[in-house]
């Protein structure tokens, strides 16, 4: 009994100590935190009071962000698509004429056993000619030839997860094999696709950089006008002893909100584009028997877009606000 009555007093004393100890430390920090939180909400409220102007600015930012984000989605889709085509890449090894059929078959088997080769098929000169006769319709013309003009061929399917560079290296090493006259990648068009993709990728970067600069200017200009409109208020605050940091804070938070709202609007715009494209895209994917699925930004992409929006809004503000505020002094 004595023990149980002792317990609560001790714990009460403990909790008292716990409560009183940090309060001396936490009070200024709490004031600082709550003043930041208040400022964050206040600056949102300020944007809301002039909601049309704010929305227009945010929309322009949204469009500027949506364009590179859309290109990014397009690019990553084309990239997956090219990956699936990439898996269908075949290399043809043209064999020397003096290689016998049995040597050719042995070579095909040996190459097929390599780690970086999924499959290899030997096609003799004769079989190749038959195939060509069937598929090309030049039968009569081919009959006029005395000799079979086609070499024997080994087709090679590289391991499907290999990169382009690795396939290139594989090709070189295959060319060095005895009995191989020439090695060729079948899909020259794939090389062209890759070239086009890299052009698109580079353009996306350039457009992205240009539009990021545009966002910086939009935010900077909006904040500049905002500061001009509140010139008297800023002068009063300076007279009352407000530090530059204190005066700067609400403007920085407006920059934050412009960026965030702009990025959200960019997501909405992308969503609308996706809906508009859904039908033709569906038809396209069906034609690939579902081997290809169109994907959007994804969770990481959404976070990245929001992050970039906020960062640009903030930065655009920082670049403007210091200079502008320094120019305002009470008279």
């Amino acid at each position: 009994m004595a023990r149980s009555s002792d317990q609560p007093t001790r714990s009460a004393a403990q909790s008292n100590r716990r409560r009183s100890l940090p309060s001396t430390l936490a009070a200024p920090a709490q004031g600082w935190m709550s003043s930041h939180a208040r400022c964050l909400i206040e600056s949102l409220g300020r944007l809301y009071r002039r909601w049309l102007a704010s929305l227009l600015t945010a929309t322009v930012i949204g469009i500027a962000l949506a364009l590179p984000a859309g290109l990014y989605v397009l690019m990553s889709n084309l990239d997956t698509l090219s990956q699936s085509w990439h898996r269908a890449v075949q290399a043809s090894l043209y064999l020397q004429d003096d290689l016998s059929i049995s040597d050719g078959q042995a070579l095909a088997e040996r190459l097929g056993a390599r780690d970086d080769v999924d499959a290899s098929t030997y096609i003799s000169a004769q079989a190749g000619l038959e195939q060509f006769r069937e598929s090309s319709g030049f039968g009569a013309a081919l009959d006029a030839l005395e000799d079979n003009p086609l070499p024997a061929v080994i087709t090679i399917n590289p391991r499907s997860d290999m990169s382009r560079a690795e396939i290139g290296a594989l090709l070189v090493s295959l060319e060095d094999e005895p009995g191989v006259a020439r090695a060729e990648l079948d899909q020259a068009w794939l090389e062209r696709l890759y070239a086009i993709l890299s052009v698109i990728e580079r353009s996306a970067w350039v457009i992205g950089l240009l539009l990021s600069a545009a966002v910086l200017f939009i935010v900077g200009n909006t904040i500049r006008l905002d500061i001009e409109n509140r010139r008297e208020e800023i002068e009063v605050m300076k007279l009352l002893g407000a530090s530059d940091a204190f005066i700067r804070r609400p403007f920085l938070y407006s920059g934050f909100w412009y960026g965030l709202i702009g990025a959200v609007l960019a997501l909405v715009l992308l969503g609308i584009c996706f809906l508009a494209l859904a039908q033709p895209l569906g038809a396209l994917t069906r034609s690939y028997d579902g081997a290809m699925a169109v994907h959007g930004l994804g969770f990481d992409g959404v976070l990245m877009l929001l992050g970039i929006g906020v960062a640009l809004g903030w930065l655009g503000c920082v670049l403007t606000v210091n200079r502008r505020l320094a120019a305002i002094e009470p008279r």
Partner: protein, 221 residues
């Protein structure tokens, strides 16, 4: 060290050559209330601006509450101004905030906690007789009420010196007398006050110390 304000041979020449103050020396004791009078352009505003560190003197020394203002760097000005109470002719209230938020501004700037702010703002509004108006916006108040909000804002952080530049310049005689009585009450409570004003008849009736400026010279200490 009992001086709250000490000017020593202060000269202020503006760019362009106009000499606003020409070798001023004056003292204001702690707890004193003084009126600064003179025709417009006599240098009253310049003197106030030097104390508020809105301008720097061309020559001479200004010491406020023991601090030589020449030693206050640009970055330290906000902290210095926080300890002054400034009152303006046109009130300088922020019209997008309530009376409460206007008076709270100096405390928000200093980063005080919410409860502390509410307590002090109500005390200041009570002093100027506007406690029932805390939720109103300044635009709905009369000129005299607006100036009382300005005074509440100036005293809310218990400044060691109250500086008022033509505080009754926009008010009729009855309201002006009201405001002056309010200053006297604040002074009786221990605040040092310096008031620049045109209202000479009002000043003479109040019987406080008078500092006269004429073309940048002191007429009477």
């Amino acid at each position: 060290m009992t001086d709250i304000v000490a000017f020593k041979n202060v000269v202020k020449r503006y760019p362009g050559g106009k000499i606003a103050l020409d070798g001023i020396s004056l003292h204001l004791e702690r707890g004193e209330m003084a009126f600064l009078t003179g025709h417009s352009g006599a240098g009253k505003s310049t003197l106030m601006k030097l104390i508020g560190l809105i301008e720097r003197p061309t020559r001479g020394q200004v010491v406020i509450n023991g601090t030589n203002l020449a030693a206050v760097k640009r970055r330290q000005i906000p902290r210095y101004r926080q300890r002054l109470g400034l009152i303006f002719q046109n009130y300088n209230l922020l019209f997008d905030r309530t009376v409460f938020d206007n008076v709270a501004l100096p405390l928000v700037i200093r980063g005080l906690g919410r409860a502390d702010i509410a307590r002090r703002v109500r005390a200041a509004l009570d002093t100027v007789g506007l406690l029932s108006h805390e939720r109103k916006f300044p635009i709905t108040l009369s000129g005299g009420e607006q100036q009382r909000v300005g005074i509440a804002r100036a005293v809310v952080d218990r400044p060691y010196l109250l500086l008022a530049d033509e505080p009754t310049g926009n008010l009729d005689p009855a309201l002006s007398a009201d405001i002056m009585r309010l200053f006297m009450r604040l002074n009786e409570a221990g605040t040092s006050i310096m008031i620049a004003t045109h209202a000479i008849d009002l000043v003479e009736r109040m019987g406080h110390r008078r500092i006269r400026l004429d073309h940048g010279h002191l007429e009477d200490g």
